[in-house]
Amino acid sequence: MIALLGMIAGIVAGLFLEPSVPTGLQPYLPIAVVAALDATFGALRAYLDGIFDERVFVISFVSNVLVAGFIVYLGDQLGVGGQLSTGVVVVFGIRIFSNVAAIRRRLLHA
């Protein structure tokens, strides 16, 4: 419940505070969001499996974001930033799909 409220509070804050994304962070923010989403769905799946550990969740959340950002940064330096961020998004997308499928199986057994 607190987790749900936290997310709602974050969304509301983002919508109403109207912060502008710093130019340096602009390419990394969408990737970071996707990475964090992946970590969140993974955590949900683990929770439903009964093996959730908040320490692991925090570490995976932060490292996912950092590694994704680093990959995009590296791609930018190598001149393939666009392609690499596409690749990162694809990988995370696949993982999110498989996690959601697992969650669905746990909850609905279907």
């Binding site: 409220l5 709602i8 964090a36 993974g42 683990a46 908040e54 909850l107």
Partner: protein, 261 residues
Amino acid sequence: MPDYLPDERPDERPPTARRDDARRRVWVALWGRPTRAQVVVGVLLALLGFAAAVQVRAVRSDDEFTGARRDDLVQLLQTLSAAQDRVSRQLSELEDTRDELQLSTNQRQVALEQAQRRLDALLLLSGEAGATGTGVVITIQDPDGSVGAVTLLNAVQELRDAGAEAIEINNVARVVAETWFGPGSAATGSALVVDDRTVRAPYVVEAIGASDTLAKAVEFPGGLADEVEALGGSVTVTPLDSVQVQSLAPEPDADFADPTT
């Protein structure tokens, strides 16, 4: 997440029991007692929601070209720059045309003004237009009838020397280049004839020019005034700010002379 996915433990329970397990956990998470783990997850999820909302806003506030493909953008850019080239070329052509037209209009204007000035000068010179301006009115009284054509011609010459621009006599005879003076006939009772026009005393000579200079030209010792007085007449000179010369000279004929340029 590999972190969360250890090897599947063999679960001997029937699938329905596992499913009930999961549902029970959701129930506990939503309505159970808050735990430390929930707070940590809540903070991170708040971060995620915040970032997602910001990103969505940033994307939405971008213009319509954000999602366009690079090839499309390049083509659009090329089209636009070609159009701009074309338009700026047209602009410079039109500006050239405008400058040319302006120049020719100015030249025509100047030529027209010069021609107008020349026309005015020539009209005054040939006596085909009336004139007004500063000048003098000279009245020659001649009770004895002894002032003749020669005297009047002298008067006109003096006035011309003094820079008179338009001269007329008795409001009827305009003095121009072809003007001639002759003695009148006794039959008509006239003393003088100027350009076929009869002129009787007192002679009133109106001249437009610098009035001081004109007055001096008449009054200097041995000049017109003295000459007329020697003949028994009298001369009065009145400088005026506005002298009207109304009479016109006959149009000059140029039957034999052709202008050579």
